[in-house]
Amino acid sequence: MNVVTRGIKNAFRSPMRSGAIILMLAISIGLILSMLVARSSVNAKIDQVKSTAGTNITISPAGVFGFAGGGNNLTSTQVDQIVKTSHITSTTATLNDQLASTDTNLTPSLTLGNFGARQARFESNNSSSSTSNGPTSAELASRPAPTPHTTVTGTTNPNSISTNGAKLSITSGATIDGNSTAYVALLGKDLASKNNLIVGKTFTAYGKTFTVNGIYTTGNTFQDSGIIMPLATVQNLSGQPGQVSSVIAKVDSGSNVNASVNSLKSTLGNKADIVSQAQQAEDSVASLQSISSLALASVIGSAIAGAIIILLAMIMIVRERRKEIGVIKAIGGTNKKVMAQFISEALTITVVGSIIGLTLGVLVSGPMTSSLVSSSQNSSSSSQLIARTSGGPGGFIRGGFNRVGSNLTQVTSSITPQVFAISVGITLLIAIVGSAVPSWFIARISPAEVLRTE
C-alpha cells in the first residue's frame, strides 16, 4: 500500500460524507458543463444571426413610425448627403402617401376592421363626440362608416417592398423603373382583383391616368392592397417634390456599417432616425446575448462553488485528522507523503464527482439550453410584438428584418470536444485549489500534535 492507495481508501472512509461532497461537486460540475454548452450554442447562434444580417441602413425622418407620429420628410439635400456618404454603394428612396376616395377611382381592397376604424376616428373630425368619455356605442353605430385609404409607395426600387428581402414577386406584367417620372404603377394582387384590373388597363390617381404595368404579391394582405409607383411621380403629384419618407442605403461591407451609421448621424443630426440591419440583428439577439452572459456567470459561479465545496471539505477533513497527521509525522512520515496522500484523496473525490457531474451535464445540457432560450424568448415576446407592428403600416422596408426573430428559439445545443475539454480543465483547476490550500495546512501541522489529548 502506498500514499496514493491510502488516499483513495481515505476518500471513502466515511461514505455518507464523501457521497454528499461528491454529489455537491457533481452538481456544480454538471452545471459548469451544461452552462458552457448553453453559452457556446447561444454564441454560435448569435454569430450566425449577425453574420447573415445585411449591410442595409434605414434612414427615416425623426419621429415618424409607419404612418404614425409627426416629423418632416427627408429633403432632397438630405438624400444627397446620404448618397455621398462614403461606403454607401446604393440607395433606395421611398415616399409613402395615401389615396382617399376623392383622389382615385380605385376601390380600396382593405376593409378597415376594428384596428383601422380606431385609427380613422381621429381623422373624421366628428363634432358629435362632445362627451369627454368618448363616443358611446350608439354614437359609433350612427357614425358613417369611415372609408379606408389606399396606400401608395413611391420608390426608386420596387424590390424594396418585398417582405422577405428578396426580389418583389411579379405575378403578371413587368416591374416599373423607379427612377422614371412616368404614370405607371404596380398594383397589389388584392387591389387589382378588387378593381378587376389587369396588366395594360388604366386607373386614375391624383387626377392622372396611370397604366398598370404589373401585378405583385408579397403574401402580406396590407401590402397586396397597395400601389407602387416611381418615386418622382409620387413626389410631383402629391406636391412633395424632392421629399422622401425613408431611404435604405446599402453599405459596401459589414465592417463599415457602424462607421456609415456614425457619419450619417453626424450629417443628418437629430432630423433622422437611423437603423442598420446589423443593429437590428444585434437588438434581436439581445436576449440571446443575455443568456450567454448569464451562462458565463453560471459557469464562473459553479466553478467557484465547486472549488469552495472541495476546499471546505478538504479543510474539514484535514482539521478532523489533525492528530492522525501528527501521528504520521511522528512516526517518520514526510510532509510530502502526507500531502500526496491528501491530494490523492481530494483527486479521488473530484474525479468521481466529475465523472458523475460530466455525465449529468451531458444529459441535461440539451434540455437546459432549450429551456433557457425559450424562457427568455417568452419574456421578450412583448418587445418582438412591437417590432412586428413596425413592419405594418408604412413599414414595408423593415420587412426583411423580422425573419431574424422567428427562428431565434432554434438554438441547437451541441457538446463540442472543446467545451468538454474546458469543463475538464475547470474541474482540474477545482481539484488543484481543493488540494493546494489543505496541503498548506498539512505542512503546518506539528508532529507534537500527537501528544495532544482531545
Binding site: 500500500m1 511522528a330 512516526i331 517518520g332 512520515g333 510532509n335 508532529p447 501528544l451
Partner: protein, 222 residues
Amino acid sequence: MLEVKNLTKSFESPSGKVTALENVNISIKTGEFASIIGKSGSGKSTLLSMLGALDTPTSGSIKVDEVDISKLSASKQTVYRAKKIGFVFQQYNLIPNLSALENVMLALEFGGMASGKRKKRAVQLLEEVGITPDEMLRRPTRLSGGQQQRVSIARALANHPSIILADEPTGNLDSKTGKMIFDMLHSLSRKENTTILAVTHDMDIAGKTDRTFTLKDGKIAV
C-alpha cells in the same frame, strides 16, 4: 548514549510564558530501561517530545550518539524520527483506517524498507508481540486496548530504533495488562539492546526499571 544538557522549553500562552522544562540534565546509556515519574503538568510529555524531535527546545542540547538532534534540519529530524525513534503513546495512536498489519507496514515504509519486504517483517513483529493472524487484519477499533498497544509496540520496533519513547503506555490499561506491556518492553530492550524511556504513574513499574527520573515543575528532582 542519550545526553540531555541544560534543556529548557517554554511555551507562549495567552497568560504569559509557561516554562515546561527548566535546565534539565539527564544521561542514559544505550540499552538502559529508564522511567520518568512526576505529577501532572510537571513536563514529562514535553521532555519526551523534545527527545523524539517532535518539538524543538528553547535552549539546551539533546545528543543521541553524539549528534545534536535539536540542531538538525526539519527533514533530517523526520528521518531521525523514522529510523532512530520508536514511539508508544497512551492513546496507542494507530491509524484508524488501516489494519494492524498496515499500521506496522506504514512505519516500515517511512523507515525506507523496500515494499516487497514489509509484509513479512510486519507479520514477524506482530507475532512477537502476540497478535494473531486474524487480529493482524483488523482495524484498531476492532482490537482491545491491550492488543492495540501491542500493535503500537510492534510499530515502534519496526525500524530497529535506538530509543523507544513511551508516554504512559499503560495509562489506559488495567494493571495486569499494563504489567504485561511493560514486561514486553523490558524483554525487548534486553534482546535488541534498545534504550527505553517510559513515563509512568505506576510506582511498581517504575521500581522495576534500571533508573527512575523524577520531574517536578519542569526540573529533575534528586
